[in-house]
C-alpha cells in the first residue's frame, strides 16, 4: 500500500537525531495522539546547513520526517518555508488515501523550527 520511496525513507531514514546547538527547534504532536515529531535546525548564512529529526510515530510520520529533512537541508530559510505538503508527498511518490492527516506534521515541525530560529534572531 505504501510506495517504495515511503518504505525506503521509513526503513533507512537519514538525519535522525538532534542538531547540536540548534538554532531552531520545532515539535508537533503528543503521546495522546501517538505521533511526536521533533525537528531541529542549524542555520548558517540564511541556509539550513543541518536539519535533523526525531520521530515517534507511524510509517507516514517517520517517512515524511525523513523526507522533509532531506528537502529542507541546504535550502535557504525562505525556500524551506515555501515547501508544501504536495512537495513532500510527491517526493515520496504519493501517500495512501486517508493518510493525509499525518502527512502534514513533519512539515509543521520544520516550519516551527524555522519560526523559532527567526524569532530568536529578530
Amino acid at each position: 500500500m505504501y510506495s517504495k520511496k515511503v518504505m525506503e525513507e521509513f526503513s533507512n531514514p537519514a538525519n535522525v537525531g538532534v542538531v547540536e546547538d540548534a538554532d531552531g527547534v520545532g515539535e508537533v504532536g503528543s503521546t495522546i495522539d501517538g505521533d511526536i515529531i521533533n525537528i531541529s535546525i542549524k542555520v548558517k548564512d540564511n541556509i539550513l546547513e543541518d536539519v535533523k529529526f526525531k520521530t515517534f510515530g507511524c510509517v507516514v510520520a517517520i517517512s515524511t520526517s525523513s523526507a522533509v529533512v532531506k528537502l529542507a537541508k541546504g535550502k535557504t530559510v525562505d525556500e524551506a518555508m515555501a515547501l508544501t505538503n504536495e512537495d513532500v508527498i510527491s517526493y515520496l511518490d504519493g501517500l495512501p488515501e486517508g493518510k493525509d492527516r499525518c502527512s502534514g506534521f513533519a512539515l509543521d515541525a520544520l516550519k516551527m523550527a524555522i519560526n523559532d530560529y527567526i524569532h530568536k534572531n529578530k
Binding site: V16, T31, I36, N38, F56, G57, K99
Partner: protein, 380 residues
C-alpha cells in the same frame, strides 16, 4: 505469527475440498445423484462440526463466516422476543457483535455494553445488574481476538439461564485453542469461523441449541432448514468440517505446544527488552496469544519493520487509514498513553516452532532498538 487474523489452510483440508470443485460439484439441493453426493458431504461436515463442540448435527447452521454467525445470533433472536428490546454485551466484543448492536440501536433497541477490568475480564456483577425485564439476549465472547483474555462463560451463562435470557458466545478465537463444549459452557448459541482454525475463508457456523427460536437474516431458497438461504458453499463447508475434526483431534497437543511457545516468547521479551508490558490477563488467556506494548515505539512502525524481517504480526495501535485511535479493546483495558500506541499482537499457530520464537525475539529487539533510537521520547 498472525494466526488470530487468519491461518493457512491445512493440506489435509485442501485435499478434502479438492474433489468438490470439479468432480463432485453438484448442488446439494438437487434431487439427482450429483446433488445427493454433495448433500451427503454437507451431512458429514455438519457432524464433524457438531462433534467437535459437543453439539448435535441439526444444531449447526452453516454461514459465510464468523461475522455472519454473530449477526445471525443476535439479530435472529430479536424478532422472537416481541417487546424484548434490550441486549447485553461487553465493550470488548468483535466489531461483528458491536456493529450489529449499533445497527439494532438504530432500529430502536437498547444495548448495555458491560465494562471489563484492566486484564479484560468482564464485570459479571455489572452484567447481572444490567439485566432488565425486556432483555432479549446476552452476548459475551469466549476469548478476545486482540488480547486473548478468556471470559468466565459458564458463570455468565448460568446467570442468563437463571433469568431465562438467551446467551450467545463468539467462540471464533477459542475454538481449536481451548476446549469448547456447548454444554459445559452452557450456551444457547455459539459462533465459529473456519479460517481461524486452518480451514478456508468465507465459511463458518452458528450453533443454535435445539429449542432456541431464531429467525433468518438472509432469505431465499430455504437452505439450512430455512435459517440461511443460498446455495451451500460445498467445498468450503467440507473443508471447514475437516478443519474442525482436526482441531478437535489436535487440541490438547496444539494447546500444550502453543502455551509453551507463548510463555517462552513472553518471558524472553521481558528478559531482553525494557519498558514493556503484557496486555490482557496473565493466565486466563488463549494459549496462542501474546499481546505486548512497548514504550517509545509505535505499533504500525514496529509491524512494518517486523514484516521486512519476515514476521507477520498485528497491532491494535494502528495509525490505520481508518482511524488514528487505538483499538476499542486496548482502550477498554485502560492502558496508559505511553503504552497504548505501541501494542503488538503476536498470535501463534500449530505450525510455529521454537525457532520462530527465537527469530521473533531477535527481530523484535532489532525493531525496538531502531525505533527507540528514532524516538524523541526515549531519552527524556
Amino acid at each position: 505469527m498472525d494466526h488470530s487474523a487468519t491461518t493457512p489452510v491445512d493440506s489435509l483440508v485442501v485435499d478434502a475440498m479438492l474433489p468438490f470443485f470439479s468432480e463432485i460439484f453438484g448442488n446439494a439441493s438437487s434431487l439427482h445423484s450429483f446433488g445427493t453426493e454433495a448433500a451427503e458431504a454437507l451431512s458429514l461436515a455438519r457432524k464433524q462440526v457438531a462433534d467437535a463442540i459437543g453439539a448435535l448435527p441439526e444444531e449447526i447452521i452453516f454461514t459465510s463466516g464468523g461475522t455472519e454467525s454473530d449477526n445471525l445470533a443476535i439479530r435472529g433472536v430479536v424478532p422472537f422476543n416481541e417487546g424484548k428490546k434490550h441486549i447485553i454485551t461487553s465493550v470488548i466484543e468483535h466489531p461483528a457483535v458491536l456493529n450489529t448492536c449499533s445497527f439494532l440501536e438504530s432500529l430502536g433497541h437498547e444495548v448495555t455494553y458491560v465494562p471489563v477490568d484492566v486484564d479484560g475480564i468482564i464485570d459479571v456483577k455489572v452484567l447481572e445488574e444490567s439485566i432488565r425485564k425486556n432483555t432479549a439476549i446476552i452476548s459475551v465472547m469466549h476469548a478476545n481476538n486482540e488480547v486473548g483474555t478468556i471470559q468466565p462463560i459458564e458463570e455468565i451463562s448460568g446467570i442468563a439461564k437463571e433469568h431465562n435470557i438467551y446467551f450467545h458466545t463468539d467462540a471464533v478465537q477459542s475454538v481449536g485453542k481451548i476446549p469448547v463444549n456447548v454444554d459445559d459452557l452452557g450456551v444457547d448459541m455459539l459462533s465459529i469461523s473456519s479460517h481461524k482454525i486452518h480451514g478456508p475463508k468465507g465459511v463458518g457456523a452458528l450453533y443454535v441449541r435445539n429449542g432456541t427460536n431464531i429467525s433468518p437474516i438472509v432469505f431465499g431458497g430455504n437452505h439450512e432448514k430455512g435459517m440461511r438461504s443460498g446455495t451451500e458453499n460445498v467445498s468450503g463447508i467440507v473443508g471447514f468440517g475437516k478443519a474442525m475434526e482436526l482441531a478437535a483431534e489436535r487440541l490438547s497437543e496444539d494447546s500444550v505446544h502453543m502455551t509453551r511457545m507463548r510463555d517462552s516468547l513472553i518471558s524472553r521479551v521481558f528478559d531482553t527488552i525494557s519498558d514493556v508490558r503484557l496486555n490482557g490477563h496473565p493466565s486466563k488467556r488463549l494459549p496462542n496469544n501474546v499481546n505486548m506494548s512497548f514504550k517509545y515505539a509505535e505499533g504500525e512502525s514496529m509491524l512494518m519493520l517486523l514484516d521486512m524481517q519476515g514476521v507477520a504480526v498485528s497491532t491494535g495501535s494502528a495509525c490505520s487509514s481508518k482511524s488514528l485511535k487505538a483499538s476499542h479493546v486496548l482502550s477498554a483495558l485502560r492502558i496508559e498513553d505511553e503504552f497504548i500506541h505501541g501494542s503488538l499482537r503476536m498470535s501463534l499457530g500449530r505450525e510455529n516452532t521454537m525457532d520462530d520464537i527465537d527469530h521473533m525475539v531477535d527481530a523484535l529487539q532489532e525493531t525496538i532498538t531502531k525505533l527507540r533510537a528514532m524516538s524523541p521520547l526515549a531519552d527524556r
